[in-house]
């Protein structure tokens, strides 16, 4: 595996859409002392499968173990470390910011405009903002809004998808899990 040590990794896990399979993936992380920083799950275009996008971290050695252990799960069809693949990534955030004065309200609206965030709810003393983007963009917006007082915040954690044409050629993680010859089912 290439890639630097430490750091955040986004894993894309394709799992058969069956009762209890998410638990197996998540349980593997907790059982082996690996961290999950964020987690998104939903069915794929083929409802027989679900896609799990999960962020985690660890040294190269730990990442190799995580990939192999997840890949070993009976109902996991594929696991890819998206750090090894060209990909695009988005996160959605909903947050409520306090606006005690008209000036503060205006500041939030201005910032939302600059960041192309949407205002989806508004009251005399607060605004609910929705924003979508890379984690850096989201973090930057949060940094600017937090002096006003963030009352509540919900983040989805990143979802990510390989760039068109990038997925299948990806070296590293996915390739290293290929078993040369599988025993045929009897």
């Amino acid at each position: 595996m290439s890639g630097s040590g430490g750091g955040r990794h986004i894993l894309s896990i394709l799992v058969e859409n069956r009762f209890g399979e998410l638990c197996r993936v998540v349980g593997l992380f907790s059982g082996r002392g690996y961290n999950i920083d964020s987690l998104c799950v939903a069915p794929t275009a083929d409802p027989a499968f679900s896609r799990i996008i999960l962020t985690t971290g660890g040294s190269d050695a730990i990442m190799e173990q995580i990939l192999k252990q997840v890949g070993k799960l009976v109902r996991v069809l594929e696991v890819v470390d998206l750090n090894e693949v060209q990909h695009v990534e988005r996160e959605m955030v909903l947050l409520i910011v306090s606006t005690r004065t008209p000036a503060e309200r205006q500041e939030v609206l201005n910032l939302a405009g600059v960041f192309r965030a949407k205002v989806i709810d508004i009251s005399t003393d607060a605004i609910t903002v929705e924003t979508t983007g890379s984690q850096e963009k989201v973090d930057a917006l949060l940094g600017l809004l937090s002096p006003l007082g963030i009352r509540d915040l919900v983040r989805t954690g990143p979802v990510a998808i390989p760039r068109i044409g990038a997925a299948r050629e990806a070296p590293g993680a996915a390739a290293s899990l290929v078993v040369p010859e599988a025993e045929s089912a009897v």
Binding site: Q69, K72, L177
Partner: protein, 619 residues
């Protein structure tokens, strides 16, 4: 963290896991109901289960009945001529017995228990089987589907509890899935890296009826069991093995599981490779073979541990760099390049970064290596490696396994040596966990795979005796010896009733040191002899206890009694318990202290024979 409730549940489930169609339980057992027109004959779940087990070639089941599994037991009564059921006395015993059956035969061991406590009692055994890669299918009764989640009587979340201690598990909610699930469970248990699979079976599913069709094939699109290794890597590995000056083959339980002993022998002989088996690998290579260095690791031989420490090439076959083998990891085989062959990709590069990692079945990969030798390398003869072998032989001669005899007391090591002599090294031997286990590993001298059954990964006291019962069920014509400790034997001692009822030929040798000896040894060495809760002051009289169970009990307390008692016990029929009163504070040597490197092994006990207490009076 996201909540554990599966979003999956909200999605349209695939057909296979669809909600069960409620079906009323039949008033009359299905198999005796007058048949409907032939094409539409429906069978109840319980009968489907039994039929499916028969299709998988199951002839013996280890189990214990209860409410949730009653339909299956009812059906079992009808199949008595085709399936033997061994009634254990505790479900832990059922799993260990199935493990003994599986490890001694290579077939899948089958367990049948009820819901709730029946299932939770299996957890230790399942974990044990997972750690030692033993193929088990464990069928647990469950409360009826409409009561699941209700805290119903004897309900436990078995799928949840056993998720981390199985290779896979199932909750069958629809009788139409049952045959497929059984088929898949056996396939998963025995292929790839073998392991335990649980089938949780609600009572209403065993009563519901459907047409029985046993699938011919399994469809598990996401599951891959490794077969042959990557040929380029195999070629590279062979080149390295031929060229190495100081190679060592380090072989684990994977050799036994893969049935690769013959190929291993051939490869080692053709390349003149020294071989060291792990605790789980014992028997995978004949102990007395000139190429065998003896066991590796914490209580392994000096030659093996030094050999690995000085090797320039380490070839790991079906072994996993367990901490009890490697000692301090950074000093393990520090000068060696490593080739690692394993059926489990996650074992490779887990504890040790390797130069060549080959994912594959050990037997197939060894065959590939042999073919590569034939077709591409064409050696004149085995590489002599004179200097290396000279060094290894010197180490072996310098520090063989040895112990001091003490006047008037039986030495535990001597019991194992005598056992080897009397059984000519041919017995199936099981061990529990502790000092006695290590002495068997050191002194029995295993010749063949599947002759040695012990709990290596989990270290489960209580494994040995039920495992011996399981092995004896599979091998009624062979001598099965369980070497156990005065502590361990009491963990599953209730299975004496099972052994007597089944009339199995199990000979129990209790290495009775009146201590939780292995823990005592650690307290002696690492806690300046502060003995905390390791003295077994109140032991049962094992001889009379055996007699109370209608078995034979014998005792030896003096060295001159050892041989006659063993002779008599081994030749007596049925269950025999031999209580061997041995030297109490004997320790297992050599020893690599936990966390130390292999080269720091302590070879002999400190010179202080004064501590030997008087032998006890056990008249």
């Amino acid at each position: 963290m996201a909540p554990m409730n599966e979003p999956n549940r909200m999605k349209a489930a695939p057909i296979a896991e669809a909600a069960p169609a409620p079906r009323p339980a039949p008033a009359v057992p299905a198999s005796t109901t007058p048949a409907a027109p032939a094409a539409e004959v429906e069978t109840r779940g319980a009968a489907i289960l039994i039929e499916s087990l028969l299709r998988e070639g199951v002839s013996t089941i280890f189990g214990y009945p209860g409410g949730a599994i009653l339909h299956v037991y009812d059906e079992l009564a009808r199949a008595r001529d085709r399936i033997t059921h061994v009634l254990v006395r505790h479900e832990q015993g059922a799993v260990h017995a199935a493990e003994g059956y599986a490890r001694s035969t290579g077939q899948v061991g089958v367990v049948l228990v009820t819901s709730g406590p029946g299932a939770t009692n299996c957890v230790t055994g399942l974990t044990n089987a997972l750690m030692d890669s033993t193929p088990i299918v464990c069928i647990t009764g469950q409360v009826p589907t409409h009561l699941i989640g209700n805290d119903a009587f004897q309900e436990a979340d078995v799928v949840g509890i056993t998720r981390p201690c199985t290779k896979y598990n199932y909750l069958v909610k629809d009788v139409r899935d049952l045959a497929r699930v059984v088929k898949e469970a056996f396939f998963l248990a025995r292929t790839g890296r073998p392991g335990p699979v649980v089938i949780d079976l609600p009572k209403d599913v065993t009563a519901a009826k459907t047409r029985f069709v046993y699938p011919e094939t399994v469809s598990l699109p996401s599951y891959r069991a490794a077969g042959r290794g990557d040929p380029r890597l195999v070629r590279r590995a062979v080149g390295m093995m031929v060229a190495a000056e100081r190679p060592v083959l380090y072989v684990g339980g994977g050799i036994v599981n893969a049935g690769a002993a013959a190929e291993l022998l051939e490869l080692s002989e053709r390349l003149n490779l020294p071989v060291t088996p792990t605790l789980m690998g014992l028997g995978g290579f004949p102990s007395a073979h000139p190429l065998c260095l003896g066991m590796l690791g914490m209580h392994g031989t000096y030659a093996a541990n030094m050999g690995v420490t000085h090797a320039d090439l380490l070839i790991a076959l079906g072994s996993r760099f367990d901490d009890r083998v490697t000692g301090r990891l950074k000093d393990f085989a520090p000068d060696a390049q490593v080739i690692h062959v394993d059926v489990d990709p996650s074992s490779i590069n887990k504890n040790r970064a390797v130069e060549v990692g080959i994912v594959g079945d050990a037997r197939l990969v060894l065959r590939q290596m042999l073919d590569c030798l034939d077709r591409e390398v064409r050696l004149e003869g085995p590489p002599p490696r004179v200097t290396w072998w000279g060094t290894l032989r010197a180490w072996a001669a310098q520090h063989p396994y040895r112990y001091r005899r003490r006047r008037g007391v039986i030495m535990p090591q001597a019991v194992i040596e005598e056992l080897h002599r009397l059984t000519r090294g041919e017995a199936i031997v099981t061990a529990d966990v502790g000092q006695h286990q290590m002495w068997v590993a050191q002194y029995y001298g295993f010749k063949r795979p599947r002759q040695w059954l012990n709990s290596g990964g989990l270290g489960t006291m209580g494994y040995g005796f039920p495992a011996a019962i399981g092995a004896a069920k599979a091998h009624p014509d062979r001598t099965v010896v369980c070497v156990t400790g005065d502590g361990s034997f009491q963990m599953c001692i209730q299975e004496m009733a099972t052994a007597v009822q089944e009339k199995v030929n199990v000979k129990v040798v209790v290495i009775n040191n009146n201590y939780l000896g292995m823990v005592r040894q650690w307290q002696e060495l690492f806690y300046s002899r502060t003995y905390s809760e390791v003295g077994l002051e109140w032991l049962p009289d094992f001889v009379r206890l055996a007699e109370a169970y209608h078995a034979t009990g014998l005792r030896a307390s003096k060295p001159e009694e050892l041989r006659p008692v063993l002779e008599k016990g081994l030749s007596a029929p049925g269950l025999v318990v031999m209580d061997m009163i041995v030297s109490q504070e004997e320790s297992v040597y050599p020893m690599v202290p936990a966390g130390a490197s292999l080269r720091e092994m302590v070879l002999d006990p400190p010179d202080d024979p004064s501590e030997e207490p008087e032998p006890r009076d056990l008249a």
